[in-house]
Amino acid sequence: MTRYAWMRLGIVVGAGVILEILCRTGVIPRLIMIPPSEMLASAWQILASGEFKGDFYFSLLNIAFAIGLSVAGGFLTGLAIYSVPLLRATLEPFLTSYSAVPPIIFYPMLIVIFGLNRIPQIIIAVMFGLVPMAINTINGLYRIRPVFLKVGRAHRVSALASVFRIQLPAAAPYLFVGVTLAVSYSVIGVISTEFILSASGIGHQISFAYDNYDNRAMYGLVVLLLAIATLLNSTLRYYSHRMLQRWTR
């Protein structure tokens, strides 16, 4: 670990320690925040006891669906837009402006249409994640160096083989960025909808705990949620880093 990495670790640990002290001495009232050590203990306890198992499965399954649909849908959309010049000319400006509108605003409408179940939640999450994946797919395909395709032709590679042996690997870094974003946004989409209105799920339980002043449960669940998200992101980032290391000097 570099010197700077140690300093970063120090900052994070230091912040945690300061928070712990402030909570324990009562500067931060218990009603607002419990000490970080108790947060971790509560998280561990929830995990061990399987207290909210059903909700975890619900949320994780929704996130999985959302990731799958965002990645597949985003990839196909990006591929279609890239291949059809008319689509590209028409849609490209909209794609870049897509992030201007927070998809969450459509949630009420979807609830009224589909009812209060996982469908509106997954739809919102896909609305968050599909477009970044599409944009990165287009970018990735666009940036394939033309000489690679020439090499393919020089080796008499068939069109289908070219896609799998040359184009997809060449676009892989960008596709990977798209997948990372899709994962991130899927988590955000699912959890935020659960916060707003939901019958079950981690977000719902956190919201419920908040309403009932159950800080132990609330902070425990928040820690677990952060842990899951961090785990997902770190894994993706690790593989992305390894890929990039091979590719660049």
Binding site: R145, V147, F148, K150, V151, R153, A154, H155, R156, V157, A161, R165, I166, P169, A170, A172, M243, R246, W247, T248, R249
Partner: protein, 274 residues
């Protein structure tokens, strides 16, 4: 090969390449008409000013592009629309696949053709060794220097045992000393495989020292102005520059091409001011 048996390996007749003009612009006559006979086993270079169409010519010969007029033949069969079996191409830019190791890069063509693993391993190991890459077989191209990466590309082409190898300014991105050494490598490759080699380059000295014949191409639209036989022995390397004839040949090339190069620049200038 020592005395090139004068069989024609590839023939180009009356070939032109005209690019249709973009909205409102007149069509661009990039190349031609060109007539050229490539003899089996010879080492031929084409030199010419920038933009004269040398690369276009190579792509036409390789089957990567189609001529607007004229015929191209390789080993008696017409070249149309796809790269014929037996032809290998090395491009100007580094085209090694960054996502594959050196070994996998070289094996690419064989694996694509479904050659069985044992045979693939044998031929790939050989090509990797031939180009001096054995120690780097498990490395990724990004970890290698420019010269090494070009060697990977050459090995990748070699492994398919091409009978005609087309190289488009393969050493353009390298420094002069590396270029000279790579030139020697190319000669060694040529002698040991017996392939016909067509080298496109803008470096007159490189063409003069490496080739059996040097063709000088005019400014756009590129036509072959003169083909100079060098008469070098097959067992040659970069030290051929000591031979007095080297200076004569290079001087002759420059005499032909100096005017053409000025035309190329002059044309660029007038286009910019238009």
């Amino acid at each position: 090969m020592p005395d090139a048996t004068r069989t024609v390996h590839a023939r180009v007749e009356g070939v032109t390449r005209i690019y249709p003009g973009r909205s409102g612009q007149p069509p661009v006559n990039a190349l031609g008409p060109i007539d050229l006979d490539l003899y089996k086993g010879e080492f031929l270079s084409i030199v010419g000013p920038s933009g004269c169409g040398k690369s276009t010519f190579l792509e036409l010969l390789a089957g990567l592009a189609e001529p607007t007029a004229g015929t191209i033949e390789f080993e008696g069969r017409a070249v149309r629309g796809q790269v014929p079996e037996g032809v290998g191409v090395v491009f100007q830019e580094d085209s090694s696949f960054p996502w594959l190791t050196v070994w996998d890069n070289v094996a690419f063509g064989l694996e694509n053709e479904g050659v069985d693993p044992a045979e693939t391993k044998r031929r790939t190991d050989f090509a990797v060794g031939f180009m001096g890459l054995t120690d780097f077989a498990k490395s990724y191209p990004a970890q290698l220097s420019g010269g090494m990466r070009q060697r990977v590309c050459i090995a990748r082409t070699l492994v398919l045992q091409p009978r005609l190898i087309l190289l488009d300014e393969p050493f353009a991105a390298l420094d002069q000393q590396t270029r000279l050494l790579m030139g020697d490598e190319l000669l060694r490759l040529w002698r040991e495989t017996g392939a016909t080699i067509l080298l496109i380059t803008h470096a007159l000295d490189e063409a003069a020292m490496l080739s059996d014949r040097v063709a000088a191409m005019s400014a756009r639209p590129g036509r072959l102005l003169e083909i100079i036989p060098t008469g070098w022995p097959a067992e040659r390397d970069s030290r051929i520059v000591e031979d007095a004839r080297f200076g004569t040949i290079t001087a002759r090339l420059w005499t032909i091409l100096r005017d053409e190069s000025m035309k190329a620049i002059g044309r660029t200038e007038s286009r910019e001011s238009a």
